[in-house]
Symmetry: C2
């Protein structure tokens, strides 16, 4: 990898201004829903990445497919960039208006369009968040399992091919989106997929848009698979002397085919931060936080197998969290690890890695990366969806400290190199955004990235859809 | 749907001839592996569809990525069509050389490139068949579940987004391909995906090629997910008074979240044909053929739940097939249903439907379609992966009888209209090929199909990859 260490200095792009005619047309249609107020622009020009705020010229709040189509038609006509905006929880700079343009905010599109419990499907508008969805469908006896740390919008989760703690059993957005409504770069509304569980009808446009990070069109509706709430759920924690033992236990669990629903690693630092944040009183050593779904008997059987594996590897203090309240408390704390890391390290921002490797190589990459960060002296913590081979090593760097940032970026880069050498990926679930463009080329090769560019040029000939993300044209 | 009834008269395309310079270059590189013998061309110009044989001008037998790249480079230079060929088991006319050109036969690419049992992955060359794969990995304790009726090649299965009887539990090729090696329309070798179980790194080129039916490039290697052989397997059959009751039982099984591994419907005719073919002695009434995978206790629990559901719906003669031999006999007979239908109806060819609908609408579409075919007097049978909402109604038409064929095509068309009205798809697993091009437009809409064309034009600007399939340009 010869690319220079990413510096978090944004690439220098020319900005494309919104012409007066377009501004007038937007103001006429959207009135107060079209805003150029500094605070609104600023809020839409940032996300959870460590990049500096880069506001769009305008923010348009859309309530319908027609609203989005109207903006896109104008944007296509005037060749003005459009950046779809859900909840702003990206970690990779997806939302920054590096070429100027318009933020299309779909967070007001919060309607459950249609719930079909008899088919285990639901169609939602793009602004519905994962928590809202699960709240609204609770009485159906069904749930949607994909849970990135943030309470993200389902449109954004589709756009970044998100996953989370349940993916080891239920898959990611790749496996759980049945179809989409998309507004194309020309402002046309199309539908991809159907409500059938499978199809061989033509190119898989659904999967092309899932993970396209807003660069091919705006996702406005998402049709999802749902799952019956399991008859029995049980969670357990188990502590280990070191990260290596916890990871080895995970590898064995997966290789034995245990249908574990969640298998999360927290290193000692992560436990320490969430203890401090959420008053959990957990023993401060590396731990696995696990969950089992199934029938009463099935859950018992899974848990027994896992308990035997962890005991073999020196797992200690295996504890059940059997009440829903206790489980919720543990998982809520886990989901807040990112914010706990920052709260417990005031003045720091997070540089998060997101590598994912074949499960057998997981211990190797974690060991090497921990050795390096331990030697560096930077504060950090590790949380990981280790059942998938995916983990996040979060470096905490003082905001504005260029040396610390370069140090973290260098370690991140070397971790990605390790992941690629081990036949893994630079990003398991966060996406490429602005941050991993060089890594993508290293991972996929110039030929494959050039093919992505060909697709992009074909579907967005004026390069108006979230330009400057994933790759440069 | 205003399109005329498909007539099985091939669309009239201009053929593109192989220029002398290209022929010479191929003969020099491939020697006897480049054939223009009539028998070889004829074999490569047909499949299991009812279309007339349409041979390519040449057949080139490729043994490596480099071989395929060499053909593609020449084909790109001379703008000559290329049709990838695996085992010839397509049901939709994928292999017919409607615009002439070269059949690139990868059936000799039968190497297991790398088995990684510790990661539950394997990489195979495109010509490896599903049966070969499972034979060769047997000792690893793992298996690959996707099983279309034919012993298809894994390259072909990826290209048509195939599934089969296990998809209800394990997913289709869409969910089980981790990565591909592809030779592009320019003759470049690229790799998509990694061996990690998930990734958010750029556009999902893997899923773009899965289901692209040879129209975007040649798949030469496939990296697949494998699964641990279940600790316990048990199969059962259950008979019903009518198809409706069998389907209602299936709907309940799925809605209750039973992790059934296989749930196949056979109507009375299908049972009759496979009885005659395979001497099974099954009671000749509609039946479900089911399989359960899991731990001993898990399988028992699943089976008890299903037995209770089927009993409620008048299921009779619930019988276990507990020995592996008995199970193999039943499933082999099921997989041979297509050939049994033709053997038991000499002189007939099969017009197979492949609709897939949301599970709750399955009884409705089967009822309407059965009423129509019963009234028509044509012989037929139904087999179905009903756990997915997918079934095949196979019309048996006298070879060369235009009236019968038009009758079958008309009924097929109306069934597709029903499926689309019920938010389903015209093809669950066979692909579009030559046969379902009008249906694709009806299902996906002109906007989505135009987007597919944009992708095609971008990746294959000279339209050399399996031209005339999925859509016309």
């Amino acid at each position: 990898m010869n690319a220079p260490v990413p510096t978090h200095v944004l690439p220098a792009f020319d900005k494309r201004a919104v012409p007066a005619a377009m501004l007038a047309a937007l103001q006429q249609r959207f009135g107060e829903r079209c805003s150029s107020a500094a605070a609104v622009r600023e809020q839409h020009g940032r996300d959870e990445s460590p990049f500096p705020v880069t506001p769009p010229e305008l923010v348009v709040f859309c309530d319908s497919n027609d609203d989005v189509a109207a903006v896109l038609k104008l944007a296509a006509e005037h060749a003005v960039p459009v950046i779809p905006y859900g909840t702003g929880s990206s970690l990779e700079g997806h939302l920054l208006a590096v070429q100027g343009g318009i933020s299309v905010d779909v967070s007001g599109m919060t309607r459950i369009v249609r719930l079909n419990p008899e088919d285990l499907t639901v169609t939602v508008q793009a602004g519905v968040t994962r928590e809202q969805l699960n709240r609204e469908i609770k009485d159906s006896g069904l749930f949607f399992p994909i849970d990135p740390g943030a309470n993200a919008s389902l449109g954004g989760m589709a756009a970044t091919r998100a996953s989370g703690t349940n993916a080891v059993r239920y898959g990611t957005m790749r496996e759980n989106v049945l179809g989409l409504t998309v507004v194309t770069a020309a402002g046309e509304v199309i539908r991809t997929g159907t409500r059938a569980r499978k199809s061989s009808a033509g190119y898989d446009l659904t999967r092309l848009f899932v993970g396209s990070e807003g660069t091919l069109g705006v996702i406005t509706e998402v049709t999802l698979k749902l799952y019956p709430l399991p008859e029995a759920v049980s969670a357990a924690i188990c502590h280990f002397a070191d990260v290596r033992s916890a990871v080895d236990a995970t590898i064995q669990i997966i290789q034995m085919g245990v249908p574990i629903a969640r298998c999360e690693l927290l290193d000692r630092n992560a436990v320490r931060f969430i203890n401090a944040q959420s008053k959990l009183g957990l023993r401060e050593s590396p731990m696995l936080l696990m969950e089992f779904h199934g029938s009463e008997a099935g859950v018992k059987e899974q848990a027994e197998t896992v308990q035997a594996i962890t005991a073999d590897l020196g797992g200690e203090a295996f504890e059940w969290a059997s009440t829903p309240e206790e489980r919720t408390r543990l998982w809520t704390a886990r989901h807040k690890a990112y914010f706990a890391g920052m709260t417990q390290n005031p003045g720091c921002r997070t540089v998060t890695t997101d590598t994912c490797v074949p499960i057998s190589r997981l211990a190797e990459i974690i060991d090497a990366s921990v050795a390096e960060v331990d030697a560096s002296g930077l504060p950090y913590y590790i949380v990981g969806h280790v059942g998938d081979g995916n983990f996040h090593l979060a470096y905490l760097v003082k905001d504005g400290d260029a040396a610390q940032r370069a140090l973290a970026e260098g370690m991140s880069q070397r971790m990605v190199q390790r992941a690629i050498a081990l036949e893994g990926t630079c990003t398991g679930e966060h996406g490429v955004g602005l941050h991993k463009m060089d890594f993508l080329v290293e991972e996929a090769g110039t030929g494959a990235v050039e093919m992505m560019r060909q697709v992009k040029r074909a579907l967005d000939p004026k390069n108006i859809m979230n330009p400057g993300k994933i790759f440069t044209l």
